[in-house]
């Protein structure tokens, strides 16, 4: 047989299976396009010219790996679905006298055609959209826009290599599938009776436990530092729980409903319970996948968006003033008034100036005594640790608008957790009388509540120095030193100010930073994260659409026969529609609802993790998540309407 014959047959097959192949090719094209775009952006020389482009490039490099991994998973998964649907067709070919090696040839041409279409269209679209993406990034980080056309040879090479490799693997996988099955088996695979799933009590209980513990971990975590580690444990538990929820818990639940005879033998319950049971058996893993992907999209989008929109706030919390100078060690012995005079001499007029000396150490307060020896106490050091900020009253009296005075052995105490119950505090072996507990401290407003912390206000710098000595005796090498902070706003051009500050030797021992530089740095970092977040979300949404589309088609073919029989026995048309509707709706929207539930329970933990990144506005996160959920639900509904049209098209032919 000639080569043209196989080629024609391959083209014919693709045309015949258009309904299932086209969505697959579309995914393949879009995946290729995204891969090209990310690689191209990551290697774009123009990005180097933009300030901060380098950090975005680094993030994109990381994104390439993730996209490649997911490209592999999605393409492989959807293709295995296609092959399964086509088993019968292959069986027919083999019964008509085609050998397996001939089938292999036809399949080879099919794979080749799909690959070429994906690469040509994917890279083509990629080149077109690449420029647009570049402009968006440039705009996000506020850089000047470089015009000009850029074609990434490296991107193209990467696409050909990666997508090509995926296709080679897919081809071999289909070959294996064809080889291990006999034609008769293939031909009748459709008619094999589906065994009714069994109630799996053991797995159901494990599933409920996994979900319960995962949720509990998220709710109960107090400390953001430990949240990071607990977060991963919780995520793994919830993923396991989700799979078990869809595979076992659902079936067990349906079985329980079936046991209740008076409930089960009602028209709508009767049809939907048995229908759902089989749907769950066949689709549980797919639905769990959709659910987990949806949760990922939601969490990723809402956190990255929250981070992006709160940049100003984050910068403000770290930089209460335009400029911050910090002096450590020797430099901390400075006199602030002299510093101000010096600045004025240099032509800088500090406004809203705030300066203080501060001693910052860690420990754990127990019954009014600072515990410094963690090992002997045998506690989880990271969880229980508390931070102590000690400042002299004089430095912050004006800023905090505090009246009165303190004696050397008296202190004011402010805490972000709970008030101290004791009248005196013992710090490094010295007793201090708590003169007043402060309800509010302006300095702490912008402090992200990462840890439990205390502010100890002492009478003077001298007491602070003495406390530092006491601390040195206890902590030895681990002791911290006093440092001086000098913060101010300024009208003059930022750059020139910082240049002047760093030129002057006297003040040079201070480390000077300014807000606008910091902000630019954050924008670049977050722009990179947001960009990748959106990219991956897009990829996940695409995967979700595809999985759902294929599910609807398979189910359509299976349900068609069932509903035909029921109609012959006397099921009313309106009941048919109702039953179909309720089943499709349940199967479709269950993953979305569970994803919503996951997101709700993830909230306490994510809120704390965001604290670590200085995003302390919880309400912002809630709003962003709600917005993302609504947007995602809308996309989901659109997918539902489109795919269920295909489904009804199949089922209704005889209805």
């Amino acid at each position: 047989m000639s080569r043209a014959f196989y080629l024609n047959l391959a083209v014919d097959n693709l045309k015949k299976n258009a309904r299932t192949i086209i969505p697959y090719i579309l995914t393949s094209v879009l995946t290729t396009m995204m891969l090209y775009m990310v690689v191209s952006l990551a290697t774009n020389p123009h990005l180097d010219e933009i300030v901060g482009g380098a950090s975005i490039k680094q993030l994109l490099g990381f994104g390439i790996v993730i996209i490649e991994i997911f490209a592999f998973i999605f393409l492989f998964y959807t293709h295995s679905f296609l092959i399964k649907r086509r088993q019968k067709e292959f069986a027919l070919f083999s019964i008509l006298g085609m050998e397996k090696k001939h089938l292999a040839r036809v399949l080879f041409y099919e794979t080749l055609i799909t690959l070429l279409v994906s690469l040509i269209l994917g890279i083509g679209l990629g080149i077109l959209l690449d420029k647009a993406m570049f402009l968006i990034i440039a705009k996000m980080i506020g850089a000047d826009i470089v015009l000009g056309f850029y074609f990434s040879f490296f991107g193209m090479r990467q696409c050909v290599l990666v997508i090509g490799l995926i296709y080679v693997l897919i081809y071999f996988y289909s070959m294996i599938r064809i080889h291990i099955s006999s034609p008769i088996e293939l031909l009748h695979s459709d008619h094999m009776g589906e065994k009714e799933p069994k109630a799996k009590w053991f797995l159901s209980i494990i599933g409920i436990l996994c979900l319960g513990i995962g949720y509990y971990l998220s709710i109960s975590t107090k400390n953001p530092l430990s949240a990071l580690y607990v977060f991963f444990v919780a995520v793994v538990l919830v993923i396991i729980g989700t799979y078990l929820l869809f595979t076992s818990i659902s079936v067990t639940f349906l079985k329980l409903m079936k046991k209740n005879k008076n409930y089960y033998y009602k028209t709508n319950h009767f049809i939907s319970i048995s229908g759902m049971m089989y749907r769950m058996k066949q689709n549980a893993v797919g639905l769990a996948n959709i659910c987990i992907l949806s949760t990922m999209v939601l969490v990723m989008l809402s956190t990255t968006l929250s981070m992006w929109t709160s940049i100003d706030r984050v910068v403000d919390s770290q930089y209460p003033r335009d400029f911050i100078g910090t002096g450590y060690g020797e430099a901390s012995n400075i006199d602030f008034d002299e510093m101000s005079e010096e600045l004025i001499r240099m032509g800088i007029v500090p406004k809203n100036f705030l300066a203080y000396k501060r001693l910052h150490y860690a420990g754990y307060l127990k019954n009014g005594t600072l515990i410094t020896d963690y090992q002997n106490e045998g506690m989880n050091a990271v969880n229980e640790i508390q931070e102590f900020y000690c400042l002299p009253l004089k430095d912050i009296q004006d800023y905090e608008n505090m009246k009165g005075s303190l004696k050397p052995n008296e202190i004011y105490v402010y805490s972000n957790v709970e008030k101290v119950k004791e009248k005196t505090l013992s710090l490094f072996g010295k007793e201090y009388v708590v003169k007043k507990q402060l309800d509010h401290l302006k300095m702490d407003e912008n402090n992200p509540n990462v840890t439990e912390h205390y502010y100890i206000i002492v009478d003077s710098e001298k007491t602070l120095e003495r406390m530092q000595q006491d601390q040195l005796n206890v902590y030895d090498d681990n002791a911290s030193t006093i440092y001086a902070s000098y913060l101010f706003d300024c009208d003059a051009n930022d750059r020139r100010v910082i240049e002047k500050l760093t030129q002057n030797g006297n003040i040079n021992n201070f480390i000077w930073t300014n807000k606008s530089d910091q902000k630019q740095g954050l924008i670049e970092l977050y722009a990179g994260i947001l960009f990748i977040g959106i990219f991956l979300s897009f990829l996940f949404i695409m995967a979700t659409i595809l999985i759902m589309y294929y599910k609807q088609i398979t189910e359509g073919y299976e349900d068609k026969d069932r509903f035909e029989i029921m109609q012959k026995v006397g099921l009313e048309q309106s009941d048919v529609k109702k039953a179909i509707h309720s089943q499709v709706l349940t199967v479709f929207f269950m993953p979305l609802l569970v994803a919503g539930l996951h997101v709700c329970f993830a909230y306490p933990m994510i809120e704390k993790l965001l604290h670590l990144l200085f995003v302390s506005d919880a309400w912002l996160y809630v709003r962003t998540t709600a917005m993302c959920f609504v947007a995602f639900a809308l996309v989901y509904i659109v997918i539902y309407v489109l795919t269920s049209k295909v489904y009804y098209g199949i089922v209704k032919r005889n209805v």
Binding site: M277, Q567, E572
Partner: protein
């Protein structure tokens, strides 16, 4: 009064692409009395399936009437049709049409569930039928776990559990081996002995020989009918096969 009356039934199909008209039934008249066991025979393409579909209210005739208890079922609205089918008719199909996702008990219950009957009543109706059909042991199994003969018995149970006025059987022995065929026909005889009316479409001479009356249909018309009367099974079989030969060789219509 007759239970079922078919008057001047006519069915013309128009093919989709050409204007050619195909006459499936040209003028069919017959009636079935309560408790009768009627077989309808004919070659492929003679119109027997069309006739059965119209009797089952699955298809509408071009003209003519089908009266069940004096009520014309060809003019029942779409809405009531499902309900009508459930309450008055029972079906036995060649390919059983059992649902694989229900166990056999639930398959039998299906029409009752659709009629919104209560579970205790369903159970009360099930017990005697199950005993009569000898399917006690397979109720908890699934259709794909039992043999063809057993499947057909489950299907019969599903058809009679609603106490229908009329059982319509479409080639019920078509997919069965000879032993199962024998058993099923015996079963039909027993059911019929309990005053259950049966109309069966078949081209198996053996199946038809069990009926109390056989109608022969050819070219969309009732061509001939044979009453069993006092004939035994063998005589009836002979009689039917003679008629079929006559039909095949193009015998003339005789009154």
């Amino acid at each position: 009064m007759a239970l079922l009356e078919v008057k001047n039934l006519k069915k013309v199909y128009t093919t989709r692409f050409t204007q050619n008209q195909v006459q499936a039934l040209s003028n069919v008249n017959f009636s079935v009395n309560k408790g009768e066991y009627v077989a309808i025979m004919g070659e492929s393409g003679s119109g027997k399936t069309t006739l059965l579909n119209i009797l089952a209210a699955l298809d509408k005739p071009t003209s003519g009437q089908v009266l069940l208890h004096g009520k014309d079922i060809t003019h029942i609205s779409e809405k009531e049709i499902a309900n009508f089918r459930r309450e008055h008719l029972g079906f036995v199909f060649q390919d059983f049409n059992l649902l694989d996702n229900f166990n056999n008990r639930d398959n039998i219950f299906l029409p009752l569930v659709l009629s919104k009957k209560k579970y205790p009543e369903m159970k009360k109706r099930l017990d005697p039928i199950v005993k009569q059909l000898g399917i006690e042991n397979i109720l908890d199994k699934f259709p794909y776990e039992i043999s063809g003969g057993q499947k057909q018995r489950v299907a019969v149970a599903r058809a009679i559990i609603t106490n229908p006025d009329l059982i319509l059987a479409d080639e019920p022995t078509g997919a069965l081996d000879s032993k199962s065929t024998e058993e099923l026909l015996h079963l039909f005889g027993t059911i019929n002995a309990n005053q259950q009316t049966i109309v069966m479409v078949t081209h198996s001479t053996k199946a038809a020989s069990h009926a109390s009356r056989v109608l022969f249909i050819k070219d969309g018309k009732i061509f001939h009918e044979i009453y069993k009367g006092n004939k035994n099974l063998d005589q009836m079989y002979q009689c039917i096969s003679d008629t079929l030969t006559l039909l095949a060789t193009g015998g003339v219509h005789h009154e």
